[in-house]
Symmetry: C2
């Protein structure tokens, strides 16, 4: 198992929440588990540190990054303008027919059941489709990379925010509005609506603060 595979593997597990924040990630143990060398694990952890997914304390060890609440609010501020930018660029670059798949996915009554019953995985998959489509149509590699790096850090919280009462319905309605603006090619409105969507997420982050952390 090469260093990059180890990094990918660990990243998956970290994003899924398999490791509890603050728990230790000893190089030798991981190397044994994954059937690889300590160095491969080591450089993978080094890379994950630069993504802020783990924290390395010199001569002590590596621990899973803790979610700092104030920092998460800051992350959402940044995400707001960047996701808004992505929506704007996508609206500018795309043709109406580029949106058909997304339109169908978010068509009336298509996702209402998932939202009402709290089917997180289905709903998350839909939101991810939105993201992937927008980022692809925005056609900006640098923005895509930047967003990916930031979203990694907010990934765990995102799931929990969606689990707060009524969030899926709220988010669903907001995304339907956004997509409508995107299809119309109304870049300014799409940006505005996406930023609004991030703002409402951020409000919940603050409101349910004690439950989410």
């Amino acid at each position: 198992m090469k260093s990059e595979e180890v990094e990918l593997h660990l990243r998956e597990r970290l994003l899924r929440g398999d490791f509890t924040p603050g728990s230790r990630l000893p190089e030798v143990k991981l190397a044994a588990e994954l059937g690889t060398t300590r160095n491969a694990v080591r450089s993978a952890l080094l890379a994950l540190e630069s993504r802020k997914l783990v924290e390395r304390i010199p001569n002590v060890g590596t621990v899973v990054a803790k979610v700092d609440f104030d920092r998460l609010e800051e992350i959402y501020d940044v995400l707001e303008v960047l996701e808004g930018l992505a929506a704007r660029l996508a609206a500018q670059h795309a043709e109406p027919r580029d949106w058909t798949a997304l339109q169908e996915l978010f068509a009336p009554s298509r996702l209402d059941d998932a939202a009402a019953s709290g089917d997180l995985e289905t709903f998350l998959a839909a939101i991810d489709s939105y993201r992937d489509t927008v980022i692809r149509l925005a056609d900006q590699d640098f923005l895509a990379e930047t967003l990916a790096g930031i979203q990694d850090q907010a990934h765990l919280l995102r799931r929990r925010i969606l689990m707060t009462p009524g969030r899926m319905e709220e988010s669903l309605a907001e995304h339907r509005d956004i997509i409508e603006a995107l299809v119309r090619g109304d870049a300014g409105r799409a940006e505005e609506l996406k930023r609004h969507n991030m703002k409402t997420a951020r409000k919940r982050l603050r409101r349910y603060r004690d439950f989410l952390v």
Copy 2:
């Protein structure tokens, strides 16, 4: 010389433009130059790769990152919304008296000579003061880190854009407007003006494309 010192040292030189893009950075040669070990250089280069300042080609070597023009336009799109965000947050968080130093620095006729005579270093120092002040007053660590990482990648071009005819005067006028809005605490206007400032920089990037690369 420890790995982090090597990284800092190389970063300085890369940002100053000491190495021509595409030139090679052999681990052994650098280690000898800096009086350190190959390992220290190696991990420094690894870290610089994640900042996109150098490019590492497996089994071949490390080269100074080339400036890809399309990518730089994308970077400026992202910088536009993030610097705008920083200005907005700073205007929201700061008191009028927080701006006195910046006001004095950008006071009428203070920087006009530097702009007119093309004194890049003086002018850059002033712009850096603006940045530092805004980022400090915005008081958001995450935004500061994100911006720092991105600005590193655009640093070389920034100097060249300022050298295009009339840019310093243009930028000076724009910054005076921005600062005026900041002092008034007009967050929306400050954001708008800073974004405008980045847009005019981006226009020059495009206009002088062939000269800048």
